[in-house]
Symmetry: C2
Subunit: 213 residues, 2 copies
């Protein structure tokens, strides 16, 4: 693979729309926060998504690719994913925000592991975007407090498992429809997919435990 630009543009289009869709979700959740601290926290996380988005957009523009064109194929599947996991209240919003970010980071780490050496510029960009995801203390504190009620905890654990299921189903659907991108993410034989999903399940489970779920 000596010309990875078209495939990585596809990939970065998916990453860019992932950021934009996450912004939309987080901003809507911020607007429904029970207090100013929660609103500020989710608005800040939403803004971080757009910081990442801008870097991906500028990178694509530098290669003559319009981010809107690159994102277009991923609007429907990512919107369907967000619709399926739409939180019903504030604690669910925090769980979806935190664990959804974790799953997105996992996916990007998997992409990074494969892309390293194939396209150094894209690898550097993905690493850079991954690096400053830093958040979680606020969400962990709030979710742990909500889990004091065992019925709330059970409901949040269900939401967290649904999130994983929808994320893996969504990722599989996108990879099926974009074979060139699938080659980048899971290798030429596609054999890496099961192993990748297993790693994501394991990391998701650890993040659930950290939240007390």
């Amino acid at each position: 693979m000596t010309h990875p630009v078209p495939e990585s543009a596809d990939l970065l289009g998916a990453v860019a729309y992932g950021e934009l869709a996450a912004f939309t979700r987080l901003a809507a959740d911020a607007d429904r926060a029970p207090d100013l601290a929660g609103r500020t926290e989710l608005a800040t996380l939403a803004a971080v998504e757009m910081d990442h988005f801008r870097r991906v957009r500028d990178h694509l523009a530098g290669r003559g690719v319009d981010v809107g064109v690159a994102m277009a194929p991923f609007v429907a599947p990512l919107d369907a994913f967000h619709h399926a996991v739409a939180p019903r209240d504030w604690p669910e919003a925090l769980v979806v925000a935190h664990l959804g970010r974790g799953l997105a980071d996992d996916l990007q780490s998997e992409i990074l592991a494969w892309i390293e050496g194939v396209d150094d510029e894209v690898a550097a960009l993905v690493r850079d975007v991954l690096a400053d995801a830093g958040h979680g203390a606020f969400v962990e504190r709030e979710v742990r407090a909500a889990c004091a009620d065992v019925r709330v905890r059970d409901r949040l654990a269900l939401a967290a498992r649904r999130l994983l299921g929808e994320a893996l189903a969504g990722a599989a659907a996108v990879l099926d429809e974009h074979p060139k991108m699938a080659v980048i993410v899971v290798g030429p034989e596609g054999g890496g997919r099961a192993a990748m999903f297993k790693r994501m399940k394991s990391r998701h489970g650890k993040r659930m435990s950290a939240l007390g779920l």
Copy 2:
């Protein structure tokens, strides 16, 4: 005035909530955009507000002031302002976003002119936040296109004038309720207020003209 910290904390609380409220408005408008380009544009503007917010929050934290406490007195008046000028459709959303940002910049410039030399650190922060507001080309293009229909143009011009009226009324109410802050913004005698409002009106009119309104 040898200890400007309490007054400038008040002032920065107003600036911080102004940024957060603008974020909420722009993010909601982004979600109602007619296409991916418009959605991306307003989401990016929303994120810029939160970048500014974070700088103000960090500055206040460095002085031992919690941003939530500093913002609290300004939540009700700024929410009332945003409610009064809530856009009814996409072209109005663009007009309110663009001209509202312009009015906020004007206010901050006025503050800057007064604070210079009184509190260099706050002056530097305000100047820094003002510097990267850069946007407008997208909005100008879209609004000019919408103005091809003269009825739409008349309606947008009305919305723009309402925005100015609400902004000046809101600013006057806030200054009345916060005399210490008023001293910073319009001088110890309050005599600068009429002149300041006149300058803001004039600049707003120029921005309306630039939009074709």
